[in-house]
Symmetry: C2
Subunit: 235 residues, 2 copies
DNA sequence: GGAAAAAAGTGAGGAAAATCAATTTTTAAA
DNA sequence: TTTAAAAATTGATTTTCCTCACTTTTTTCC
């Protein structure tokens, strides 16, 4: 059985198109009327779980993680968002407080859009409406896959799959054809996979001796995606 | 820390209001124009993972599980839907095939609404549009909680929490004040918790000896919700 | 009501992963 | 460049949970 059979590649959000891409100029203008562009340093927090949502955030450049803390304060990363993605709109739409926290994983440019402007644009724009419905339902499908991943797969399989997914997110930072370096801390990788850092380290060194990956300091280079797909599938 | 702090009760979908409740009569008429009402026997499948979605399903009466099969054919239950809930609309909205399967857990009445009618109503009805956006984003929040539940909590904690959640779903079948019997197979409970049946059985008998639950054949009666909340939280 | 089938329950043993306790390497900052 | 701090790595130990093999109970259906 191919990996597509179980986890269709397109459901893993390799290239999630921006919600705002080719939005009618008029709508975009309204949405961006009072935007606030800000530089964030690596590690800075964008918003915190349970906080009242005051707006949405557009990643103009950089990467951010969405995560929840457990009762011992350990992070569980739910999603890694890339340049062009929107953060914090679920809470605005559902009327809940933020269900999770978000922090940038590298120096980033984040655009803040006030809640009122977002909701007003939504009232006026059929396109944004449809786009959001489609994005949300797709995200739902992706999250469903993540859930079964956690419930049914071993740590080794999960790590293999996340390496494939995460590599795609770092791809955009490198010239086509150049080796892609995953520049993510072992801690973040562990919390994305849902395991302890030590396990990630151990399995990475297994992958190294199997010729699947190579490391340069903290950075990880995937040498053989096909083998990773195999590991993610069976084993 | 209270359970609300970590998993706010209202985010566990105890009483998910029907999407179709108080929809304008006109919209409802259009939506239901070509509906097909059908009786399903316990265990019957409503739709299958990866199938092309031909419409949406409204649970007029009964309960259904949404689930995915792993490569060894074992079920992972993602969600238990109750009377009044809508199934299969994520796929219609996102343009994907069904990401999961659905089957009724007891004899049920299911109303089928053709894809075209649903989409046409959506085009015409602002109310339905807003309702769906809100429901979807809320469901997203709920699913996010489920994800961290799997990633961060032990089997014992997960079982305790699911007993609380599931009990609420069976509540509607009993007179107020009467003891609520959870009439779910150990297998289904195990696959909802994400563990083996044996573990569920063992922990249930622990809960029994701790005076937390009582069983009558397959049926489970929760005697002490507060203790369950404690188990779900710490332990 | 009784037989067959299905589901629930029990126990032992083993594998996977978490935890604890270090050491070494890398990165960042003065 | 040096040094301190942070991050990565390794090994040993413990815990949790899964699996297998089996018995008992409950449910279903003639």
């Amino acid at each position: 059985m191919s990996i597509q059979g179980i986890f269709p590649i397109e459901k893993w959000d390799f290239k999630s198109e921006s919600i705002l891409a080719d939005l009618p100029g008029e709508d975009l203008k309204l949405l961006m009327a009072r935007k606030l562009e800000q530089a964030y340093k690596k590690g800075e927090i964008i918003f915190k779980e349970e906080a009242y949502p005051s707006g949405i955030f557009y990643i103009a450049r950089g990467k951010a993680k969405k995560y929840k803390l457990d009762k011992d304060g350990r992070e569980q990363i739910i999603y890694v968002a890339n340049t062009g993605e929107l953060l914090g709109y679920h809470a605005i739409l559902s009327g809940d407080n933020y269900p999770d926290s978000a922090a940038v994983m590298e120096d980033s440019i984040i655009v803040f859009i006030p809640k009122e402007d977002f909701l007003e644009t939504l009232r006026q724009s059929d396109v944004l409406n449809r786009r959001l419905l489609k994005t949300l339902s797709h995200e739902f499908v992706v999250l469903t896959n993540s859930l079964t991943l956690f419930a049914q797969r071993s740590v080794r399989e999960r790590l293999a799959l996340q390496l494939i997914v995460v590599r795609e997110k770092y791809k955009v930072d490198f010239e086509p054809g150049m080796p892609v370096e995953i520049n993510m801390s072992r801690d973040d990788l562990a919390s994305l996979v849902g395991t302890a850092r030590e396990n990630v380290v151990r399995m990475l060194s297994e992958f190294k001796s199997e010729g699947i990956v190579e490391t340069r300091g903290r950075r990880i280079i995937v040498l053989d995606v096909k083998k990773l797909i195999k590991v993610a599938n069976f084993s």
